[in-house]
Symmetry: C2
Subunit: 114 residues, 2 copies
């Protein structure tokens, strides 16, 4: 068993993405076999790209307020909202509040991207 | 995309386990393909069984204080502690505080148990 505060895992930026950072809190560091848990921070006004990929997201908001945009429309999210994005669905997370939007985002092991 | 507050998913008890409840927040309800996200509540003084199984846990504490016990020893956990329990390791979560110990606990899709 490994136990550690999530802030012990270094925060990484994304090239060309202003105000977006990620901590790979349970993945290669503890050799998870099947899925990877990340904590993603969006600064006020920041957003992830509107993009798609063949793997799903299971996300859970820790702090802040924002919006998730998909072809189905937009949904407001806030503390303790669960968000499920199925494989291949275009999606974008936007921070619409005035504090950090922070959420857990879990992906299957085979893929390692936003 | 599905987005909903985690409390919209009904809380279920465990037969014979006092003070332990679970919400299967992203699983069959949204047809996740690879892994399942649950939110587990332990009342003050409650604990999960000391047990093992062939699948891993990736856990993240939302509220409260407690201890995780494994054959390697005990670790105190509190808000935003990450806990990785590898497959087949005996483990137990105990609420040692005076409020609910609440944590996210993710398991691979093939297995659906504590």
């Amino acid at each position: 068993m490994k136990a550690f505060h999530y802030t012990e895992v270094p925060q990484e930026g994304f090239e060309g993405l202003e105000g977006v950072s990620i901590r790979w809190v349970m993945g290669d560091n503890v050799q998870t076999p099947n899925f990877i848990t990340r904590v993603i921070d969006l600064a006020p006004g920041a957003n992830t790209p509107y993009h798609q990929h063949p793997w799903e997201h299971e996300a859970f908001v820790l702090d802040g307020n924002g919006t998730v945009r998909t072809p189905e429309g937009e949904r407001d999210i806030s503390e303790r909202t669960c968000i499920y994005v199925p494989p291949n669905e275009e999606h974008q997370f936007l921070n619409t509040g005035d504090e950090t939007l922070r959420f857990i985002c879990i992906i299957p092991r085979v893929e390692q991207d936003v």
